[in-house]
Amino acid sequence: MEHNIIIAGFGGQGILFLGKVIAGAALIQDKNVSWLPSYGPEMRGGTANCSVCISDQEIGDPLVTKPDILIVMNRPSFDKFIGSASKNSVVLVDSSLIDKKAERQDIQDFYVPASQLANENGLSKLGNIILLGTLAKATKMFEKEIFYEAIEQAVPSSRQQLVKTNKQAFEIGYDFIA
């Protein structure tokens, strides 16, 4: 197993958290894993992104430049990364925020109005986890339970009430595609 993932969007959309959940799931499955945020002042207001690598081998470069999984949650990130996704990569797009489709034919792209779905379901700010659900379904990378466990671990112990809403969001995304 080997995945090189980029997750990108605005600061405040839970980009880094989403990456942590995926990385956490990989750790539960005893994979080698690395998570690397873009950091710095551009965090604020501006865009945020992170790289997650999952592998059975030792991980070399933790900075992903050719993702086989790409999750984008705003237009600038879509424009920036869509070209770099590798052939046959899985690309998830929050279509409620990005009004554009990839012009490439060599990728598996999914358009999920995640933020909108989140708002509609009273799960505001959980568009990220909706996309995670879709990802889980689309890639089958790990079992649902594994992701649930990862969510439980990633949510700070002081805010465990969030676990439930996160799982709800996950389900919505999971069920969004067939």
Partner: protein, 354 residues
Amino acid sequence: MSKKFLMKGNEVIAEAAIRSGCTMFFGYPITPQTEVAAYMSKRLPEIGGVYLQAESEVSAINMVLGAASAGRRVMTSSSSPGISLKSEGISYIAASDLPCVIINVQRAGPGLGGIQPSQADYFQATKGLGHGDFHLMVFAPSSVQEIADLIKTAFDLSDKYRVPSLILADGIMGQMMEPVSFSEEESTDQPDKGWATSGHDNKRAPNIVNSLYLTPDELEKTVIERYQRYDVIAQNEVLFEKYLTEDADIIVVAYGASSRISKSVINTAREKGIKVGILRPITLWPFPTQAIKELCKTAKSFLCVEMSMGQMVEDVRLAVEGVRPVSFYGRTGGNTPRPEDILHKIEQLNEEEK
């Protein structure tokens, strides 16, 4: 095997220090290592330790000097510009034979530069972190797990030799999360610090921590004595990792983030039938000079990969002594070496050798 956590390198620096018996931390915020202090500010008070945010890096390193003089395990952390500011204090600490651990999570320079990762403080760390003849022990972890392990080594050896330790990390090491597990052994067996200035209680002569010797002969004596300790360290404490070097024609030399990127390229190159291996210095001072000399017997050429304009490459050249060609590939300014570029370099070298 003990439990694995997914943790940021910076947090592991802090947690590993605490597990190594470090109970005092003095710092000043700077990207990309702020999580070290954030972690310490939360955890140290919980265990009765001391966290103090100083008014500057200069002040922080001098608080370290004070705490180390009193015999405590103490750490400070910063990034490139902040480390420059500490250089007078570091020279004093080295000259006063005080143990401590200093963290440099390097960012791009010179000047304010940028906040992305870099390895361009190698020269400063290994040769010039302050005025005068002295060395630090310099450790370069290349994974979050290794951070955990080296922090303990850094504290233990620093106490043992009374030579300050520097962890030379970079923005990637600091910001990255990887699984990490901590060794279960308690590490509280610190050597006796009879020299510490903790008050003589009217029971012994005053202890003095000092680096001033107005008589050249006296000062020279202390320096030479210290260099004898350096010699012992160079004999016994060199750390490095070799990977696929035995039959390699080309040896990549790289440390820290650069080494892990290079290592993955080695595998690709091997698949292409190129005999390449990697030597990864873990201690940058003492440098694995001998290991490189050994490899000169079997390897045809060396390639040094760094996140700088070429700094460690000088130490490689000093080790190789012209016996084999040494080439260099580096990126700077916060850029990291690209695997495809490294591969390309290796292929080129391979061609040339034919």
